[in-house]
């Protein structure tokens, strides 16, 4: 990436340090508050999950069983909305603004505004969460925050993201890197999708089925056109950086980007298959969900083959491990998308827990895992400290992987079984209703694993935020021995 300029390595290092220093407050804020919201979201998710198989669950303290604040419908809405906007969006913002600044070599001049907007975002999420828990949710999936919240979110977003677009325009040189394409696209797609959907659902008056359709489109495009591109952009940056190898095929990377841009926005309406709306709408949704395999496998192959070129780095780097897991799960996401959206698959799984499994795979399995990798890369550079414990990182990784794989397996497999029982119309409904019991139970247990893993992560991140990380020249690696390190003695952090 230094090929376009004639700066020396030392000047490179100075620019990087300036970029990191200018963004340390907003980026750490986004990551830390995001991690707190993630823990809160998983907590609500556990409650909602428990109540779906054992509504009078004896082990839950009475307060959680009976209180209206944790009624299952409200808890589920709280879980999803806090996961998406409290954790997902903020983690994405932190990664986005840091990566755009690094790639354009521009220190941020607007960190104050970004930080303020971040606080406004958090305030809006808190208000929204209280609204949902007190029964003022809107009843529109993934848009359950009371309607006063979304304009504030959108305004905060503009004040966070527009500066990165400015940085891009005033950068030195004309060449761009694939990550910038993904990030800039995500930066524009998010407001386009968010504003359009909220206008059509809450402001314009239309047929109730079409507002349901726009909502379904919003759910798919928020994942395909915001979370996935931010994660992929981060993966394309981190992999060559940590392995020291060039991306396997840059042309393939560009093809994957345009494939996502063309295919992604058509998805979503398959959730309304069988509804009295124009027939081509759900069919377009099914086709787009199936074709998503193309960009998914493109990215997966590119990232994983690049990693394979440096097998000596993979066992040691936390960043690479998380990015690798996320990339593998991206390919799995594409495959499951195909399985769930064939005509037969959709018929069976349309109203089963499989949909939830797919969403969690996308948001936690792909997006969050890659973003964790990015966080493990970025935080030492902006705090000028190293992570305290490789054991914490290991726990975070393995518990997350076990948890998300269990959820996906239980939801998808259980979803197909549920769907089969639902389609058997001559059997009593009790059959279908009780078919999913084991799988919702498995999902609950898996969320417990993920909860522990994220408490560990939150603790670790909070310690870094409090500047209590190790002052060290070499990064915290997995499998490293304390007695001797391949990197030599202790000293200052290398920010390359």
């Amino acid at each position: 990436m230094a090929t376009d300029t004639n700066l020396s390595n030392e000047q490179d290092a100075i620019i990087r340090a300036e970029v990191d220093r200018s963004l340390r407050h907003p980026v750490m804020f986004f990551f830390t508050s995001g991690a707190v919201w993630l823990a809160i979201s998983i907590f609500f998710g556990m409650i909602a999950s428990i109540k779906q198989h054992d509504p009078d669950f004896g082990l839950l303290p009475d307060f959680f069983k009976d209180s209206s604040l944790f009624a299952v419908g409200r808890a589920y809405a709280a879980h999803m909305n806090v996961l998406l906007y409290g954790w997902g969006a903020q983690a994405a913002f932190g990664v986005m603004i840091w990566l755009m600044a690094r790639l354009t070599r521009q220190p941020s001049r607007n960190s104050g505004v970004i930080l303020t907007a971040g606080h406004l975002w958090n305030l809006a999420i808190a208000v929204g969460l209280i609204g949902i828990c007190t029964g003022k949710g809107t009843g529109v999936s993934w848009m359950e925050f009371p309607t006063c919240v979304w304009p504030v979110l959108l305004l905060s977003y503009v004040l966070i993201a527009v500066w990165s677009l400015v940085q891009f325009q005033v950068r030195d040189g004309s060449r761009t890197f694939i990550s910038q394409w993904y990030l800039m696209a995500a930066m524009l797609w998010f407001p386009w999708v968010f504003l359009s959907s909220h206008l059509f659902v809450f402001v314009f008056e239309g047929h109730p089925l079409m507002t349901a359709g726009v909502n379904a489109w919003f759910k798919a495009t928020l994942v395909f056109l915001f979370f996935i591109p931010v994660a992929v952009g981060a993966a394309y940056y981190l992999t060559p950086k940590v392995t020291g190898r060039a991306i396997y095929s840059y042309k393939l990377a560009i093809f994957g980007f345009w494939a996502l841009a063309v295919i992604g926005p058509w998805a979503g309406m398959q959730k309304l298959a069988g509804a009295p709306i124009p027939h081509f709408l759900p069919y377009m949704g099914m086709v787009a969900m199936i074709l998503f395999m193309i960009p998914a496998i493109t990215v997966g192959v590119n990232i994983l083959v690049t990693m394979k070129k440096a097998p000596e780095v993979l066992p040691y780097s936390p960043t690479l491990r998380f990015v690798a897991a996320g990339s593998i799960l991206l390919v799995v996401l594409g495959a499951i998308g195909i399985a769930l959206n064939t005509p037969n698959g959709l018929r069976e799984t349309q109203f089963s827990i499989a949909g939830y499994g797919y969403e969690i795979l996308a948001i936690y399995g792909v997006f969050s895992m890659i973003i964790f990798g990015a966080i493990y890369f970025i935080v030492p550079r902006i705090t000028v400290r190293e992570w305290l414990s490789s054991r914490f990182i290991n726990w975070h990784f393995w518990l997350s992987v076990y948890g998300v794989v269990t959820i996906v397996f239980c939801s998808i497999f259980g979803g197909f079984l549920q769907g089969e029982a639902q389609e058997a119309f001559d059997k009593p409904w009790m059959d279908a209703a009780t078919r999913g019991y084991a799988y919702t139970l498995g999902t609950t247990i898996a969320w417990h694993f993920i909860f522990v893993s994220n408490l560990v992560f939150l603790l670790h991140l909070l310690l870094m935020w409090m500047r209590l990380g190790r002052r060290s020249q070499h990064p915290t690696l997995l499998h490293s021995h304390h007695a001797e390190s391949p990197h030599g003695g202790e000293g200052f952090v290398d920010n390359a």
């Binding site: 409200r74 979503g268 009295p276 959709l346 279908a432």
Partner: protein, 229 residues
């Protein structure tokens, strides 16, 4: 690829689906034409009306805020998309004296609501015709449909026939208060209530039950949109 080309490509690849999948269908469906009965075929005249109003729509809001759509759907799919039509009491009554009333959902069925609660999963049964079922069960139990519905919302597991139900006890929709005079007509007969106290539904429960009881699709449909003929 210049920045201009990039933005152009991005805008076009987004604008096409935005236009064809969102904007145009939305605009067209907000002007759905009314359908009329034809005297000769339907033996009645007038316009096919399905709109609900008032407290029923308040109930729709409660339905959304309490997250009922998480476990219940409201969509009877045509047979190419699912077998909902044939499941007992989901789509109508096969043995109705006026003829088979089972039908798939039509475009007028959500009239009056802002958002069609199609639903996310079917942990619980589809609710398109739950008004019919509640009335049936209430008649068998010799109580009013409202009382049956309140009892079910308060504790879905109180009946032996649904002891396996994972429907949550929506206790947040009810409150206990002291008995005054002869007590409220809507008080629920629940064992766990102390003497001198009664359990009554809140306004949100009343609205929700009005909404649930309005969910029936057994009205006569004009021949032009009656696909079962």
């Amino acid at each position: 690829m210049t920045f201009k080309h990039f933005i152009l490509g991005l805008s076009i690849t987004f604008a096409l689906p935005w236009f064809f999948v969102i904007a145009v269908p939305y605009a067209k469906m907000s002007q759905t034409q009314a359908v009329s009965f034809v005297e000769d075929i339907d033996e009645q005249t007038g316009v096919y009306t399905t709109k609900r109003a008032g407290r029923v729509l308040d109930g729709a809001k409660v339905y959304g805020a309490e997250g009922c759509y998480l476990c219940h759907s409201q969509l009877v799919r045509p047979t190419y998309a699912g077998s909902d039509v044939w499941r007992l009491d989901w789509a109508g009554d096969a043995n109705h004296p006026d003829g088979d009333t089972r039908r798939e959902t039509n475009v007028y069925d959500y009239a009056g609501e802002r958002f069609a609660q199609i639903g996310l999963t079917r942990t619980g049964p589809d609710l398109s015709n739950v008004g019919v079922r509640i009335r049936k069960y209430a008649k068998e139990a010799e109580i009013s449909p409202e009382e049956w519905a309140y009892m079910h919302l308060y504790n879905p597991r109180h009946k032996l026939t649904t002891s396996w139900s994972v429907c949550p006890s929506s206790t947040q929709l009810f409150r206990t208060c002291d008995v005054q005079g002869q007590g409220s007509l809507e008080a629920l007969s629940v064992d766990s209530i102390k003497d001198g106290e009664q359990l009554i539904p809140k306004e949100s429960a009343r609205a929700l039950v009005s909404y649930l009881l309005s969910l029936k699709k057994d009205n006569k449909v004009p021949a032009s949109i009656d696909y079962s003929r």
